[in-house]
């Protein structure tokens, strides 16, 4: 797996889940998706297919009892109530930084199952951002709204132990080669990557921080897809 793809996935993992402005690495890149595509391109026509895709983010033993959200025309809607506190959802591309070339990529499908602390304290940012996108707000307005929501504590405070599974073999995270990587994500308040030895030569941990969201995501590749088949996990 190329370092470029790893970086893209790490960047996407951060921003899809958290929203906000990430590293400005893409400023000089071409913008293949200059504006939002017609909404229908982001929606999945088959609700059952979206539910199944969301569940594929984690092993069935976790996702079968998870709450499932699907994307409607005005935001995420509950498609199935859960019993174990996990929430599974297929996230879309607009979680990327506003200058990310794939911010409006309608092909992106990022299934994720969040554990209870992440469902309570990280997912609300994704839900809010999605509502703003679907309401037609500009990128700048979305970023401003996010900052305001955090400043005014309109989103729940971060909970320790927040983490998520992204192990769907069917995920499409980026146009980069491979498009995908099985991994877990662990969230912390804004933290130096070095505190977990991330992004250092030979380290299996990848980190991305976003001051706007005040969170750091640590990404750890795992060796299997949610269906139990082997996944490559050569992060470096």
């Amino acid at each position: 797996m190329s370092p470029k793809l790893i970086n893209t996935i790490a960047c996407f993992a951060l921003v899809v889940v958290l929203g906000g402005a990430g590293p400005a690495h893409a400023q000089d890149a071409k913008t293949p998706y200059p504006s939002m595509a017609p909404l229908d391109q982001y929606l999945m026509t088959d609700r059952d297919a979206e539910i199944a895709l969301a569940r594929s983010a984690a092993p069935e033993s976790i996702s079968r009892d998870a709450k499932i959200l699907v994307l409607g025309r005005h935001g995420y809607e509950t498609a199935a109530e859960g019993k174990n506190g996990f929430v599974c959802v297929v996230e879309r591309a607009w979680g990327a930084p506003s200058d990310h070339p794939e911010f409006w990529n309608p092909k992106v499908r990022a299934p994720i199952c969040l554990n209870p602390p992440a469902a309570r304290s990280v997912l609300p940012l994704t839900i809010k951002r999605t509502e703003w996108v679907l309401a037609g707000l500009s990128k700048a307005q979305i970023m401003d709204n996010l900052k305001t929501a955090l400043d005014r504590k309109e989103v729940p405070p971060f909970e320790a132990g927040a983490m998520s599974y992204m192990m769907s073999k069917q995920a499409y995270l980026t146009d980069e080669d491979g498009h995908n990587m099985a991994h877990l994500m662990i969230y912390t308040p804004l933290t130096d990557a070095a505190a977990w030895g991330a992004n250092l030569p030979g380290s299996p941990v990848i980190a991305a921080s976003d001051p706007l969201d005040r969170l750091t995501v640590f990404l750890i590749p795992v060796g299997q897809w949610s269906d139990g088949t082997t996944a490559h996990m050569d992060a470096h």
């Binding site: 092993p59 554990n115 070095a194 030895g197 250092l200 030569p201 030979g202 060796g223």
Partner: protein
């Protein structure tokens, strides 16, 4: 039960009978393995430089080269190298395993860890305390009671948020059962349930260890490479 399993059981059974016939006295005298502390020398490493190098193998060199390194002496751990990055690398011994581990006093165990700063602050005090009790010759029951009392009196800290460590040494040795296991990261939390990280679920890539009397939950995530960059065999667990 399939034929392979039956054949394996029969071979094992036959071997056990043969051994008991050959060595009847030994079979009667020997109790369960590792019930008592072995002579302290068996837990020590004779060359401090070897132990320093071994401790550093717990994490990639980019982390461990600037870490503080501790080595085990006759009275506890001693600082062998000062660090610069807040990490601490150490070779833990068998008594850091759960108390119900059958190899709790296995003198062959060598478990190199590199702990990040929060773990160095809040996990190492447990390592020091447990080691002190073991080296003082306390029984397993006494150690259990002492550790429980220390937590009850808040003399030992709970894991600080973000406490984690690397165990990616190719030379690590856990037990006769799992050998050097696999390279992994460990994350410590104040006692929580297995499903907090989905670890109780089948096919989850997260393992869990619930400690007692320590009010600690440990989640483990396997990684693909040893600290030297070489690939680890898959599916060792």
């Amino acid at each position: 039960m399939n034929r392979k399993m039956i054949e394996r059981m029969l071979r094992t059974f036959a071997l056990a009978i043969a051994l008991s016939l050959l060595c009847p006295a030994q079979a009667q005298d020997s109790g369960p393995l590792y019930e008592r502390m072995a002579p302290i020398d068996q837990y020590l490493m004779t060359d401090p430089n070897t132990e320093i190098a071994f401790a550093r193998t717990a994490a990639p060199e980019s982390i461990s080269r600037d870490a503080e390194v501790l080595v085990l002496g006759r009275h506890g751990y001693e600082t062998a190298v000062k660090g610069k990055n807040g990490w601490v690398c150490i070779v833990e011994r068998s008594w850091m395993a759960p108390f119900d581990d059958p190899e709790f006093l296995n003198p062959d165990q060598r478990l190199p860890l590199c702990l990040n700063p929060p773990a160095a602050r809040t996990h190492l005090p447990l390592t020091f305390k447990t080691t002190e009790l073991a080296l003082a010759g306390q029984s397993k029951t006494q150690m259990f009671d002492s550790i429980k009392a220390a937590y009850d009196k808040k003399e030992l800290p709970l894991p600080e948020a973000g406490s984690m460590c690397y165990m990616t040494s190719k030379q690590q040795y856990f037990s006769r059962k799992v050998g050097n296991a696999d390279p992994h990261l460990m994350f410590w939390f104040p006692k929580t349930d297995d499903m907090f990280w989905g670890a109780a679920a089948s096919d989850s890539p997260v393992d869990v260890h619930q400690y007692s009397p320590q009010p600690i939950t440990e989640f483990d995530i396997s990684v693909s490479k040893w600290s030297d960059g070489t690939d680890a065999p898959r599916d060792q667990h």
